[in-house]
């Protein structure tokens, strides 16, 4: 029985049915199919939300093992587990007993720890951009020189001091942005859309199996 359930045809069939249930009502108005598709989408969200428990279980097991083995940095695992439990309990949707998103502990953790940590991670991108630019802005080849020159012109275009010194940077920057840059981006977007359609076809025909147990039976 378990071998039958593990057959690769089952997930492929589910994928095909689910895909058609989403595609057909998008193009064809069939009232019962649309209603079914709506219900189906709600179920999909529910099932995906259930996967959150898998993540929490995986995280708990991983860090519990690290604490048990006293692996390097096990103290951070304790901190991770404690933080997870505290924010989980404080955020439980039980407003009758003071829990949920309005709970002061949850609010404090969210506003004073989670948000600043996220902002910090986002802001360090500036340093990464600097180091990446330092390495890549070298005129080693014709292509690299074009990138270097375009980059310098765009920096000048975005700098009020430079545009006030020479207003010509504005039309040059506008041209780089709206002609070569836009053309390249559109080409990539059209190519990506076509690639995604071909991938969808391979999935629908059941020949793209890489995402299913490596494609093995």
């Amino acid at each position: 029985m378990s071998e039958t359930l593990r057959r690769i045809e089952i997930p492929i069939a589910i994928t095909i049915i689910c895909t058609l249930l989403q595609i057909v009502p998008f193009y064809i108005e069939v009232e019962p199919l649309e209603a079914f598709s709506d219900t189906f989408r709600s179920w999909m969200i529910l099932v995906a939300t259930c996967a959150l428990f898998l993540g929490a279980a995986s995280l708990s097991l991983l860090h519990s093992k690290r604490i048990q083995r006293r692996s390097t940095g096990w103290q951070f695992s304790v901190l991770t587990l404690v933080s997870m439990v505290v924010i989980l309990l404080a955020g439980l949707p039980l407003p009758e007993i003071g829990l949920g998103v309005d709970n002061p502990v949850f609010d404090f953790l969210f506003a004073n720890i989670l948000t600043p940590l996220g902002a910090t991670m986002y802001s360090i991108i500036a340093f990464f951009i600097t180091s990446a630019a330092y390495r890549s802005f070298r005129a080693r080849s014709t292509e690299a020189t074009i990138v270097l020159v375009s980059g310098i012109l765009m920096i000048c275009y975005n700098s009020p001091l430079m545009t006030s010194l020479w207003p010509g940077f504005i039309p040059v920057g506008d041209w780089i942005f709206s002609v070569p840059n836009m053309a390249t981006m559109r080409a990539v977007i059209i190519g990506s859309a076509l690639g995604a359609i071909a991938l969808a076809m391979r999935v629908l025909l059941g020949i793209e199996r890489g995402y299913l147990r490596g494609g093995e039976e």
Binding site: I28, L62, G118, F128, M185, L199, R202, G210, G214
Partner: protein, 261 residues
């Protein structure tokens, strides 16, 4: 009675034409006529990167972006990333490299785990599979990236392969990979992140190349021929652009009405 949704008929016909072309090329390949596809340096470099990591005695990192598999726009990138993961896992098992898979999405985590576990099972080395190496980090974007960066700094991977949908974390990951001396292969269809991957990694798969990767690595003629079907879509796209430009230049709104059909 079924009624077509107004404004989507032309889109539907275009989609059917491209799907028909892909199916035609697949059938053609099954009949023995195999299309030729240009080499993708980024994919060819994956084996080299894994081999390098083995020689250095370092692990291999392979991630598939931070999107889920359901999203209409970004989901296909995750599926493409998982196909690459499947290939990387097989190569790592064959070459004896330790594979670490950082995961952001809880619903993708079991799929990634299954892919890596299957690679070990096929090689008859199930006992070597360590579930802790396919690690769910955080659903939060920067929680994920900070964890990923920390792991890279601690584990010092010899190869870092990132194919999928990435956002602001792309440069953080690529630059840190560069800092620890990893050979990096990246790929995304998110145009706003492509520039970061191009400058910060050794090889970059651009846009549609990531969708072709899953078929390309199999070296199966049927898979590869499906890529050729895309070219038909490309011809349609170019033809429509030329037609639209000419009609619009001469003051006709026929093309706009066709798109709105």
């Amino acid at each position: 009675m079924a009624i077509f949704v107004t404004g989507r008929i032309f889109g539907m016909l275009s989609l059917l034409a491209i799907m028909g072309a892909v199916t035609y090329y697949i059938r053609r390949a099954r009949g023995g006529k195999v299309s030729e596809v240009r080499r993708l340096a980024g994919i060819d470099a994956i084996t080299e990167a894994i081999g390098r990591a083995v020689e250095m005695g370092r692990p291999v990192f392979c991630s598939h972006g931070i999107s889920d598999m359901r999203d209409a726009t970004y989901g296909p990138q995750t599926i493409a990333g998982l196909s690459v993961l499947s290939y990387v896992a097989t190569q790592c098992v064959d070459l004896g490299a330790r594979l670490i898979v950082p995961v952001r999405n809880t619903e993708v985590w079991p799929v990634a785990t299954d892919i890596v576990e299957t690679a070990y099972k096929i090689a008859g080395r199930s006992d070597e599979f360590n579930i802790d190496d396919v690690v769910y980090l955080s659903s939060d974007q920067f929680g994920y990236s900070s964890n990923y960066l920390g792991m890279m700094m601690r584990e010092k991977p010899g190869a870092n392969i990132m194919v999928g949908a990435y956002w602001a974390e792309s440069l953080q990951l690529a630059e840190t990979g560069n800092r620890v001396g990893a050979m990096q292969v990246s790929g995304t269809a998110n145009t706003h992140q492509l520039a970061f991957f191009v400058v910060a990694t050794d090889y970059c798969l651009i846009g549609e190349e990531i969708f072709a990767a899953g078929a390309y690595v199999t070296e199966d003629p049927v898979f590869i021929s499906s890529i050729a079907g895309q070219d038909f879509g490309r011809i349609i796209a170019v033809g429509l652009m030329i037609l639209g430009t000419i009609l619009f230049t001469f003051g006709s709104d026929a093309f706009v009405r066709l798109l709105e059909w």
